[in-house]
Protein backbone atom coordinates (compact mmCIF):
# COMPACT_ATOMS: atom_id res chain seq x y z
CA UNK A 1 0.00 0.00 0.00
CA UNK A 2 1.36 3.37 -0.96
CA UNK A 3 -0.31 6.60 0.11
CA UNK A 4 -0.50 9.55 -2.19
CA UNK A 5 2.33 11.54 -0.63
CA UNK A 6 4.68 14.00 -2.24
CA UNK A 7 8.33 13.83 -1.25
CA UNK A 8 10.05 17.21 -1.35
CA UNK A 9 13.70 17.46 -0.40
CA UNK A 10 14.59 19.95 2.31
CA UNK A 11 17.72 21.27 3.95
CA UNK A 12 16.65 20.25 7.42
CA UNK A 13 14.78 17.11 8.42
CA UNK A 14 12.16 18.50 10.78
CA UNK A 15 11.39 21.46 8.50
CA UNK A 16 10.99 19.02 5.65
CA UNK A 17 8.72 16.64 7.52
CA UNK A 18 6.60 19.54 8.78
CA UNK A 19 6.34 21.07 5.30
CA UNK A 20 5.53 17.81 3.54
CA UNK A 21 2.94 16.72 6.11
CA UNK A 22 1.23 20.12 6.06
CA UNK A 23 1.15 20.13 2.27
CA UNK A 24 -0.43 16.70 2.46
CA UNK A 25 -3.42 18.07 4.42
CA UNK A 26 -3.82 20.93 1.97
CA UNK A 27 -1.71 23.79 3.38
CA UNK A 28 -0.26 24.58 -0.05
CA UNK A 29 1.39 27.87 0.99
CA UNK A 30 3.84 26.26 3.38
CA UNK A 31 7.52 26.12 2.41
CA UNK A 32 10.57 24.96 4.30
CA UNK A 33 11.70 28.49 5.25
CA UNK A 34 8.17 29.40 6.42
CA UNK A 35 7.95 26.28 8.58
CA UNK A 36 11.38 27.03 10.04
CA UNK A 37 10.59 30.69 10.75
CA UNK A 38 7.06 30.19 12.10
CA UNK A 39 8.32 27.32 14.22
CA UNK A 40 11.08 29.65 15.53
CA UNK A 41 13.69 27.01 14.73
CA UNK A 42 16.63 29.40 14.83
CA UNK A 43 18.51 29.05 18.05
CA UNK A 44 21.85 28.94 19.79
CA UNK A 45 22.90 27.16 22.93
CA UNK A 46 26.25 26.11 24.34
CA UNK A 47 25.76 23.87 27.37
CA UNK A 48 28.82 24.03 29.63
CA UNK A 49 30.20 20.86 31.29
CA UNK A 50 28.13 18.60 29.07
CA UNK A 51 29.94 16.71 26.32
CA UNK A 52 28.48 15.16 23.20
CA UNK A 53 30.68 12.65 21.34
CA UNK A 54 33.63 13.90 23.40
CA UNK A 55 33.16 17.49 22.22
CA UNK A 56 31.28 20.64 23.23
CA UNK A 57 27.47 20.55 23.38
CA UNK A 58 26.43 23.24 20.92
CA UNK A 59 23.19 23.50 18.98
CA UNK A 60 22.04 25.90 16.28
CA UNK A 61 18.46 24.64 16.27
CA UNK A 62 15.68 24.36 18.74
CA UNK A 63 14.63 21.18 20.57
CA UNK A 64 13.49 18.30 18.35
CA UNK A 65 9.74 18.35 17.81
CA UNK A 66 9.30 22.02 18.61
CA UNK A 67 9.40 23.30 15.03
CA UNK A 68 6.55 20.97 14.09
CA UNK A 69 4.55 21.74 17.24
CA UNK A 70 4.98 25.50 17.04
CA UNK A 71 4.30 25.74 13.33
CA UNK A 72 1.09 23.73 13.59
CA UNK A 73 0.10 25.61 16.75
CA UNK A 74 0.61 29.02 15.14
CA UNK A 75 -1.39 27.94 12.07
CA UNK A 76 -4.16 26.62 14.34
CA UNK A 77 -3.81 23.08 13.07
CA UNK A 78 -4.53 20.29 15.54
CA UNK A 79 -1.82 17.64 15.89
CA UNK A 80 -1.42 14.10 17.08
CA UNK A 81 1.81 13.14 18.83
CA UNK A 82 2.45 9.87 20.62
CA UNK A 83 5.32 8.13 22.39
CA UNK A 84 5.44 4.43 23.13
CA UNK A 85 7.08 2.12 25.59
CA UNK A 86 5.99 -0.97 23.67
CA UNK A 87 7.53 -1.67 20.27
CA UNK A 88 4.52 -3.72 19.20
CA UNK A 89 2.08 -0.92 20.00
CA UNK A 90 4.30 1.58 18.20
CA UNK A 91 4.24 -0.51 15.05
CA UNK A 92 0.50 -1.17 15.39
CA UNK A 93 -0.19 2.55 15.70
CA UNK A 94 1.88 3.28 12.60
CA UNK A 95 0.11 0.52 10.63
CA UNK A 96 -3.27 1.90 11.72
CA UNK A 97 -2.25 5.38 10.54
CA UNK A 98 -1.27 4.04 7.14
CA UNK A 99 -4.49 2.03 6.91
CA UNK A 100 -6.41 5.26 7.56
CA UNK A 101 -4.44 6.93 4.76
CA UNK A 102 -2.39 9.06 7.13
CA UNK A 103 1.34 9.46 6.44
CA UNK A 104 3.16 9.76 9.76
CA UNK A 105 6.20 11.68 10.94
CA UNK A 106 8.62 9.59 13.00
CA UNK A 107 11.53 10.66 15.16
CA UNK A 108 14.42 8.25 14.62
CA UNK A 109 18.05 7.66 15.55
CA UNK A 110 20.64 7.90 12.80
CA UNK A 111 23.10 5.25 14.00
CA UNK A 112 21.17 2.27 12.65
CA UNK A 113 19.68 4.07 9.67
CA UNK A 114 20.69 1.65 6.92
CA UNK A 115 20.38 3.97 3.93
CA UNK A 116 22.86 6.46 5.42
CA UNK A 117 26.50 5.70 4.63
CA UNK A 118 28.70 4.84 7.59
CA UNK A 119 30.34 8.29 7.61
CA UNK A 120 27.13 9.95 8.74
CA UNK A 121 25.96 7.40 11.28
CA UNK A 122 26.41 8.76 14.78
CA UNK A 123 24.31 8.31 17.89
CA UNK A 124 22.11 11.25 16.99
CA UNK A 125 18.49 10.58 17.86
CA UNK A 126 16.62 13.61 16.61
CA UNK A 127 16.31 12.81 12.93
CA UNK A 128 12.86 12.95 11.34
CA UNK A 129 11.31 10.98 8.49
CA UNK A 130 7.85 10.39 7.08
CA UNK A 131 6.50 6.87 6.63
CA UNK A 132 3.98 6.92 3.81
CA UNK A 133 3.25 3.32 2.94
CA UNK A 134 4.04 -0.34 3.38
CA UNK A 135 4.81 -3.03 0.85
CA UNK A 136 5.19 -6.52 2.29
CA UNK A 137 7.66 -6.10 5.14
CA UNK A 138 9.04 -2.82 3.80
CA UNK A 139 7.96 0.60 4.98
CA UNK A 140 8.13 3.36 2.39
CA UNK A 141 10.14 6.23 3.78
CA UNK A 142 10.41 9.86 2.75
CA UNK A 143 13.56 11.24 4.35
CA UNK A 144 13.57 15.00 3.67
CA UNK A 145 17.35 15.28 3.42
CA UNK A 146 17.43 12.69 0.64
CA UNK A 147 16.87 13.46 -3.03
CA UNK A 148 14.62 10.43 -3.47
CA UNK A 149 12.37 8.25 -1.34
CA UNK A 150 13.68 5.06 0.23
CA UNK A 151 12.49 2.20 2.42
CA UNK A 152 13.22 0.32 5.64
CA UNK A 153 12.24 -3.18 6.70
CA UNK A 154 9.98 -3.40 9.75
CA UNK A 155 12.95 -4.52 11.85
CA UNK A 156 15.14 -1.66 10.60
CA UNK A 157 12.40 0.86 11.27
CA UNK A 158 11.75 -0.50 14.76
CA UNK A 159 15.45 -0.28 15.52
CA UNK A 160 15.73 3.41 14.58
CA UNK A 161 12.42 4.34 16.22
CA UNK A 162 13.67 2.78 19.43
CA UNK A 163 17.25 4.02 19.32
CA UNK A 164 18.50 4.75 22.83
CA UNK A 165 20.59 7.40 24.55
CA UNK A 166 20.23 11.19 24.59
CA UNK A 167 16.94 12.39 23.04
CA UNK A 168 15.74 8.80 22.63
CA UNK A 169 12.77 8.87 20.24
CA UNK A 170 10.70 6.22 22.10
CA UNK A 171 8.87 5.40 18.90
CA UNK A 172 7.60 8.93 18.69
CA UNK A 173 5.07 9.50 15.93
CA UNK A 174 3.26 12.68 14.92
CA UNK A 175 1.10 14.23 12.21
CA UNK A 176 -1.15 17.22 11.68
CA UNK A 177 -4.90 16.67 11.55
CA UNK A 178 -7.00 18.52 8.99
CA UNK A 179 -8.27 21.73 10.59
CA UNK A 180 -9.59 25.05 9.41
CA UNK A 181 -8.13 26.27 6.13
CA UNK A 182 -5.15 28.56 6.59
CA UNK A 183 -6.13 32.10 5.61
CA UNK A 184 -3.77 34.93 4.73
CA UNK A 185 -4.52 36.58 8.10
CA UNK A 186 -3.68 33.36 9.94
CA UNK A 187 -0.39 33.13 8.05
CA UNK A 188 0.49 36.75 8.88
CA UNK A 189 -0.26 36.16 12.54
CA UNK A 190 1.82 32.98 12.56
CA UNK A 191 4.79 34.75 10.94
CA UNK A 192 4.65 37.54 13.52
CA UNK A 193 4.47 35.02 16.30
CA UNK A 194 7.46 33.08 14.98
CA UNK A 195 9.60 36.19 14.54
CA UNK A 196 8.54 37.51 17.94
CA UNK A 197 9.47 34.26 19.58
CA UNK A 198 12.87 33.84 17.94
CA UNK A 199 13.95 37.46 18.33
CA UNK A 200 12.88 37.49 21.98
CA UNK A 201 14.70 34.26 22.63
CA UNK A 202 17.93 35.22 20.90
CA UNK A 203 18.33 38.63 22.53
CA UNK A 204 16.19 38.91 25.65
CA UNK A 205 16.74 35.72 27.63
CA UNK A 206 18.90 36.54 30.64
CA UNK A 207 20.89 33.30 30.45
CA UNK A 208 24.54 33.63 29.38
CA UNK A 209 24.63 30.38 27.39
CA UNK A 210 21.52 31.02 25.29
CA UNK A 211 21.00 32.99 22.12
CA UNK A 212 23.40 35.78 21.26
CA UNK A 213 24.96 35.57 24.73
CA UNK A 214 25.62 31.89 24.07
CA UNK A 215 27.61 32.72 20.94
CA UNK A 216 29.66 35.14 23.03
CA UNK A 217 30.15 32.41 25.61
CA UNK A 218 31.51 30.04 22.96
CA UNK A 219 33.77 32.80 21.63
CA UNK A 220 35.27 33.34 25.05
CA UNK A 221 35.75 29.62 25.63
CA UNK A 222 37.57 29.20 22.30
CA UNK A 223 40.17 31.75 23.38
CA UNK A 224 41.19 29.36 26.19
CA UNK A 225 40.89 26.06 24.32
CA UNK A 226 44.47 26.00 22.99
CA UNK A 227 45.95 26.30 26.49
CA UNK A 228 43.41 24.24 28.40
CA UNK A 229 42.95 21.38 25.91
CA UNK A 230 46.05 21.40 23.75
CA UNK A 231 45.97 22.17 20.01
CA UNK A 232 44.81 18.68 18.98
CA UNK A 233 41.75 18.37 21.20
CA UNK A 234 40.96 22.05 20.66
CA UNK A 235 40.98 21.31 16.93
CA UNK A 236 38.53 18.47 17.31
CA UNK A 237 36.27 20.70 19.44
CA UNK A 238 36.24 23.21 16.60
CA UNK A 239 35.53 20.42 14.11
CA UNK A 240 32.48 19.56 16.19
CA UNK A 241 31.36 23.19 16.16
CA UNK A 242 31.66 23.26 12.36
CA UNK A 243 29.73 20.01 12.03
CA UNK A 244 26.86 21.33 14.16
CA UNK A 245 26.88 24.47 12.04
CA UNK A 246 27.31 23.10 8.53
CA UNK A 247 26.60 19.38 8.45
CA UNK A 248 23.82 17.96 6.36
CA UNK A 249 20.50 19.28 7.63
CA UNK A 250 21.42 22.91 8.31
CA UNK A 251 21.11 24.52 4.89
CA UNK A 252 24.54 26.00 5.65
CA UNK A 253 25.70 28.81 7.90
CA UNK A 254 24.08 27.34 11.01
CA UNK A 255 20.52 27.74 9.62
CA UNK A 256 21.08 31.49 9.13
CA UNK A 257 20.52 31.23 5.35
CA UNK A 258 17.22 29.41 5.81
CA UNK A 259 16.18 32.14 8.21
CA UNK A 260 17.13 34.86 5.74
CA UNK A 261 15.04 33.04 3.11
CA UNK A 262 12.16 32.93 5.60
CA UNK A 263 12.28 36.69 6.16
CA UNK A 264 12.17 37.25 2.39
CA UNK A 265 9.15 34.98 2.06
CA UNK A 266 7.51 36.62 5.06
CA UNK A 267 7.71 39.91 3.18
CA UNK A 268 5.29 38.52 0.61
CA UNK A 269 2.70 38.23 3.38
CA UNK A 270 3.61 41.34 5.38
CA UNK A 271 5.06 44.01 3.09
CA UNK A 272 7.24 45.70 5.69
CA UNK A 273 10.70 46.48 4.35
CA UNK A 274 12.33 45.91 7.72
CA UNK A 275 11.94 42.20 6.93
CA UNK A 276 14.07 42.57 3.80
CA UNK A 277 16.64 44.61 5.67
CA UNK A 278 16.85 41.91 8.34
CA UNK A 279 17.02 39.21 5.66
CA UNK A 280 20.10 40.86 4.15
CA UNK A 281 21.68 41.05 7.58
CA UNK A 282 21.15 37.33 8.12
CA UNK A 283 22.65 36.51 4.75
CA UNK A 284 25.76 38.44 5.78
CA UNK A 285 25.74 36.70 9.17
CA UNK A 286 25.49 33.28 7.52
CA UNK A 287 28.48 34.18 5.33
CA UNK A 288 30.40 35.15 8.44
CA UNK A 289 29.63 31.85 10.11
CA UNK A 290 31.14 30.21 7.06
CA UNK A 291 34.22 32.45 7.19
CA UNK A 292 34.62 31.37 10.81
CA UNK A 293 34.28 27.74 9.71
CA UNK A 294 37.13 28.21 7.24
CA UNK A 295 39.29 29.62 10.04
CA UNK A 296 38.31 26.66 12.26
CA UNK A 297 39.25 24.22 9.50
CA UNK A 298 42.69 25.81 9.33
CA UNK A 299 43.07 24.92 12.98
CA UNK A 300 41.77 21.36 12.87
CA UNK A 301 43.74 20.62 9.71
CA UNK A 302 46.83 21.64 11.67
CA UNK A 303 47.68 24.55 9.35
CA UNK A 304 46.97 27.19 12.03
CA UNK A 305 48.37 26.37 15.44
CA UNK A 306 49.12 29.59 17.26
CA UNK A 307 47.20 31.37 19.98
CA UNK A 308 46.58 34.28 17.61
CA UNK A 309 44.66 31.90 15.33
CA UNK A 310 42.38 30.93 18.19
CA UNK A 311 41.99 34.60 19.05
CA UNK A 312 41.00 35.28 15.47
CA UNK A 313 38.38 32.50 15.63
CA UNK A 314 37.07 33.92 18.87
CA UNK A 315 36.92 37.42 17.37
CA UNK A 316 34.91 36.12 14.42
CA UNK A 317 32.30 34.71 16.78
CA UNK A 318 32.19 37.88 18.89
CA UNK A 319 31.58 39.86 15.72
CA UNK A 320 28.82 37.44 14.70
CA UNK A 321 27.23 37.73 18.13
CA UNK A 322 27.17 41.52 17.81
CA UNK A 323 25.69 41.38 14.30
CA UNK A 324 23.05 38.84 15.33
CA UNK A 325 22.15 41.00 18.27
CA UNK A 326 21.53 43.95 15.95
CA UNK A 327 19.55 41.86 13.46
CA UNK A 328 17.31 40.23 16.07
CA UNK A 329 16.81 43.53 17.90
CA UNK A 330 15.66 45.01 14.62
CA UNK A 331 13.02 42.29 14.38
CA UNK A 332 12.15 42.43 18.06
CA UNK A 333 11.51 46.18 17.93
CA UNK A 334 9.72 46.00 14.60
CA UNK A 335 6.51 48.01 14.22
CA UNK A 336 4.17 45.73 12.29
Amino acid sequence: MELNFQHLQAAHCENGVTTNLLKHIGVEEITEPLAFGIGAGIFYIHIPFLKISNGPAISFRTMPGWIFNRTCGALDIPIERKKFSSKEKAQQFLDDCLAKGQPAGCQVGVYFLTYFPKEFRFHFNAHNIVVYGKEGDNYLVSDPVMETVTHLSSYELERVRFAKGALAPNGQIYYPKPGKPVTKERMQKAIKKGIGHASWFMTETPVPILGVAGIRYTANRIRNWRDSLGPKVAGSYLAQLVRMQEEIGTGGGGFRFVYAAFLQQAHAYIPNDTLLEASEKFTAIGDQWRTAAVQASGIYKGRLTEQKDFNQMSDYLLEIAEKEKQAFRLLYKMKW
Binding site: P33, E119, A239, G251, V258
Partner: protein, 136 residues
Amino acid sequence: MKSKDIPQDPSALDKFTREVCYAVGEDGKYVTGLSRGWEVKADALGITWEEAEQRIKDAVQKIQSGEASPILFYMEVNLMDMPTIAAYTGFWQWTIKRHLKADVFKGLSDKKLQKYADVFSVSVDDLKAGRLIHGA
Protein backbone atom coordinates in the same frame (compact mmCIF):
# COMPACT_ATOMS: atom_id res chain seq x y z
CA MET B 1 26.11 32.95 0.02
CA LYS B 2 25.43 33.44 -3.68
CA SER B 3 23.84 30.54 -5.52
CA LYS B 4 26.80 30.33 -7.92
CA ASP B 5 29.08 29.91 -4.87
CA ILE B 6 27.33 26.81 -3.52
CA PRO B 7 30.30 24.51 -2.98
CA GLN B 8 30.56 21.32 -5.02
CA ASP B 9 33.46 19.56 -3.33
CA PRO B 10 33.59 15.77 -3.42
CA SER B 11 32.63 14.34 -0.02
CA ALA B 12 31.05 11.33 1.65
CA LEU B 13 27.69 12.77 0.61
CA ASP B 14 28.42 11.38 -2.85
CA LYS B 15 27.55 7.97 -1.47
CA PHE B 16 23.88 8.71 -1.01
CA THR B 17 22.54 12.14 -1.79
CA ARG B 18 23.19 15.78 -2.55
CA GLU B 19 22.02 18.26 0.02
CA VAL B 20 19.82 21.32 -0.25
CA CYS B 21 21.48 24.69 0.30
CA TYR B 22 19.80 28.06 0.56
CA ALA B 23 21.57 30.82 -1.33
CA VAL B 24 20.93 34.18 -2.96
CA GLY B 25 20.22 34.10 -6.68
CA GLU B 26 21.07 36.69 -9.38
CA ASP B 27 18.06 38.89 -8.59
CA GLY B 28 18.68 38.94 -4.82
CA LYS B 29 15.95 36.39 -4.13
CA TYR B 30 16.66 33.23 -2.17
CA VAL B 31 16.79 29.99 -4.13
CA THR B 32 17.70 26.44 -3.25
CA GLY B 33 20.50 24.54 -4.88
CA LEU B 34 21.98 21.09 -4.47
CA SER B 35 25.50 20.62 -3.17
CA ARG B 36 27.89 17.68 -3.32
CA GLY B 37 29.60 18.89 -0.18
CA TRP B 38 32.03 21.44 1.16
CA GLU B 39 35.69 20.73 1.84
CA VAL B 40 35.63 22.53 5.20
CA LYS B 41 32.97 20.31 6.67
CA ALA B 42 34.19 17.17 4.92
CA ASP B 43 37.46 17.76 6.79
CA ALA B 44 35.58 18.25 10.07
CA LEU B 45 33.88 14.90 9.53
CA GLY B 46 37.21 13.33 8.58
CA ILE B 47 38.83 14.55 11.79
CA THR B 48 35.99 13.08 13.80
CA TRP B 49 36.52 9.68 12.19
CA GLU B 50 40.30 9.82 12.55
CA GLU B 51 39.72 10.37 16.22
CA ALA B 52 37.31 7.47 16.46
CA GLU B 53 39.94 5.21 14.80
CA GLN B 54 42.56 6.44 17.25
CA ARG B 55 40.28 5.62 20.16
CA ILE B 56 39.83 2.09 18.81
CA LYS B 57 43.61 1.67 18.51
CA ASP B 58 44.06 2.90 22.08
CA ALA B 59 41.40 0.45 23.23
CA VAL B 60 43.17 -2.48 21.54
CA GLN B 61 46.40 -1.52 23.26
CA LYS B 62 44.73 -1.30 26.66
CA ILE B 63 43.12 -4.69 26.17
CA GLN B 64 46.37 -6.30 25.10
CA SER B 65 48.16 -4.93 28.14
CA GLY B 66 45.43 -6.36 30.36
CA GLU B 67 44.19 -2.95 31.46
CA ALA B 68 40.75 -3.12 29.87
CA SER B 69 38.16 -5.69 28.82
CA PRO B 70 36.98 -6.26 25.21
CA ILE B 71 33.86 -4.23 26.03
CA LEU B 72 35.97 -1.08 25.65
CA PHE B 73 36.90 -2.05 22.10
CA TYR B 74 33.30 -2.66 21.09
CA MET B 75 32.17 0.56 22.76
CA GLU B 76 34.64 2.49 20.63
CA VAL B 77 33.83 0.58 17.45
CA ASN B 78 30.15 1.41 18.00
CA LEU B 79 30.98 5.07 18.80
CA MET B 80 29.28 4.75 22.16
CA ASP B 81 30.04 6.96 25.11
CA MET B 82 29.04 6.03 28.67
CA PRO B 83 25.47 7.42 28.63
CA THR B 84 24.77 5.76 25.28
CA ILE B 85 26.00 2.30 26.23
CA ALA B 86 24.20 2.57 29.57
CA ALA B 87 20.95 3.34 27.73
CA TYR B 88 21.41 0.42 25.31
CA THR B 89 22.41 -2.22 27.87
CA GLY B 90 20.28 -1.05 30.78
CA PHE B 91 23.29 -1.24 33.13
CA TRP B 92 24.26 1.66 35.38
CA GLN B 93 27.29 3.63 34.23
CA TRP B 94 29.29 2.64 37.31
CA THR B 95 28.50 -1.01 36.61
CA ILE B 96 29.79 -0.66 33.07
CA LYS B 97 32.93 1.03 34.36
CA ARG B 98 33.57 -2.10 36.45
CA HIS B 99 32.89 -4.37 33.47
CA LEU B 100 35.57 -2.47 31.56
CA LYS B 101 38.20 -3.86 33.93
CA ALA B 102 39.78 -7.03 32.60
CA ASP B 103 39.57 -9.04 35.83
CA VAL B 104 35.96 -8.08 36.60
CA PHE B 105 35.06 -8.97 33.02
CA LYS B 106 36.41 -12.52 33.44
CA GLY B 107 33.83 -13.21 36.15
CA LEU B 108 30.80 -11.90 34.26
CA SER B 109 27.84 -14.23 33.85
CA ASP B 110 26.69 -15.28 30.37
CA LYS B 111 23.45 -13.42 31.00
CA LYS B 112 25.24 -10.11 31.40
CA LEU B 113 27.59 -10.83 28.51
CA GLN B 114 24.56 -11.60 26.35
CA LYS B 115 23.29 -8.05 26.86
CA TYR B 116 26.54 -6.63 25.59
CA ALA B 117 26.68 -9.16 22.77
CA ASP B 118 23.19 -8.13 21.61
CA VAL B 119 24.03 -4.44 21.59
CA PHE B 120 27.32 -4.97 19.75
CA SER B 121 25.90 -7.61 17.36
CA VAL B 122 28.61 -10.17 18.22
CA SER B 123 28.40 -13.55 19.95
CA VAL B 124 29.03 -14.17 23.65
CA ASP B 125 31.85 -16.53 22.64
CA ASP B 126 33.57 -13.80 20.67
CA LEU B 127 33.33 -11.52 23.67
CA LYS B 128 34.65 -14.16 26.04
CA ALA B 129 37.51 -15.13 23.78
CA GLY B 130 38.37 -11.48 23.38
CA ARG B 131 38.08 -11.61 19.60
CA LEU B 132 38.16 -8.04 18.37
CA ILE B 133 36.08 -7.86 15.23
CA HIS B 134 36.04 -4.53 13.47
CA GLY B 135 33.84 -5.15 10.46
CA ALA B 136 30.88 -2.94 9.62
